[in-house]
Amino acid sequence: MLTEEEKTEIMSAIRHHESGRAACVDVLKIVQRHRGWVSDEIHDIAGLLDMTTEEVDGLATFYSFIFRKPVGKHMILICDSVCCWTMGYEVMREHLTARLGIRPGETTGDGQFTLLPVSCLGLCDAAPAMIIGDEVFGNLTTEKIDAILERYAD
């Protein structure tokens, strides 16, 4: 069930667009901002947008950054594309998996971190690079990763 707060935000997003359908990605993001991921709300969303549940789910599963499964509090998006790969992505990934005790795509047992290798982040001049939340981290080394994880652990 969508909360009243979510519904209000969704209705305002719909008003801002040409149609409910055109607002779909923004609406999925609203729900994801509140819950971290998008679950069975898909059905309620479809009703509000005048779309079928299948259509909304088709979009939700198509986009890389709409999550249909629970994710951790902090998403570690590590770039696995060509420049980062050349500059040491594999070493950084191995270091992260060892430190966090998870494989790529998994979430730590305490729900703090999800590690997700992603397509080129456009940070090629600062490779290897990753993003956590709104923060961008470039020219990664294993030492830097340790310091970054330290800061996020709470």
């Binding site: 986009y63 950054f65 060509v82």
Partner: protein
Amino acid sequence: MTTERPLTGSMKLNGEPLDIREYEKAGGYQAFRKALGSMTPAEIQSVVKDSGLRGRGGAGFPTGQKWSFMPAVDTVPGPRYLIANADEMEPGTFKDRVLIEGNPHQLIEGIIISAYALQVDRAYIFLRCDYRRGAMRLLRALEEAYAANYAGKNILGSGFTLDIRLHVSAGRYICGEETALLNALEGRRPVPRAKPPHPQTCGLWGRPTVINNTETFCNIPHIVDKGAAWFKGLGLTEGGTKIYTASGRVKRPGAWELPLGTPLRDLLNEHAGGMADGYSFRAVIPGGASTDFLLEEHLDVNMDFTAPQKFGSRLGTGGLIVLDDRTCPVGLVSNLIHFFSRESCGWCTPCREGLPWVAKTLQAIEDGEGRPEDIGILEGHTRLLGPGNTFCFLAPGAMEPLQSALTYFRDDFERHIREKRCPWR
């Protein structure tokens, strides 16, 4: 050779964006005032056409010509749209990020002038979601532009009205393909549409629509301000400047605005500072992941829209990806193909089925499990997934670095298979 850098010259060295005051102090919104105050839409279209500006999104289509395919308002009245493509997900490419983060108003001014030239009253900026800093800066700049009435209703009393909206996407390389982008904006599954009809006549919600790359729009204010002849004079071999970037094991990875046609060798040695200590040059992918490798013997090529074709490659996005001697070429190509395979939208069979197959074959070779016949299979796929066999250019683009790698690094492929291991590991 000119050293003028109209697109980046006024950017701050500390990486902060210019706000509206600073932008105007540096000459910003002058072209916009000139355009709305004293030029007709047709006059703007003609100066853009005369400038010879070619699209900076990768394909190099002449912008003036693209615009001319949009029907006039009196023949097709009703809504029409303009879209700035800032989806930038081509591996090795980050020029639009540099332009947006450093000077968001320049893009907005380019959009306003272009919208006026095409008599469009609704524009979208389609931004990839990982450019969060860019999104914040664009929103801020849009607020400033609206507050100054450079956008919105009856702009500066001219009678021209323009609404500009920022659409932040949710990740997927295919959304940058212009017709998939249209579906994305409409809230449909972002797979490409059949062409024709072209977006200029039947685009967003079936209405006339022009889509240009971010860097293309950033050139418009300068062309309108200083004229077509000035713009042509900026380049070395073709008109204008280009934002070139370089990444990989070079001394100074980065972005530089340089005359269009700057030789590849100068980009690598002078601007990127040559190879990092302990590494030597092996090859370069010159224009983002969808372009063919070039070797040492090709480095004198002028990086413009025509010259690299002599050597089977392209300017593409101008994003250089450097391959050094300590990186496995098979591993690098395998990484590229994994990207394309993951990002395939799945709409047409050759790409949906072929790319994962190519990816698997490359991975097997890299892991020492390749068979001698695999090279022939890969070569076959460069034709099967080549131009004309797929619905959009994603798959043919993916085949460009593979086909040149199979030619230039043949020995490396064969050695992996013969020795049943990656010699670099």
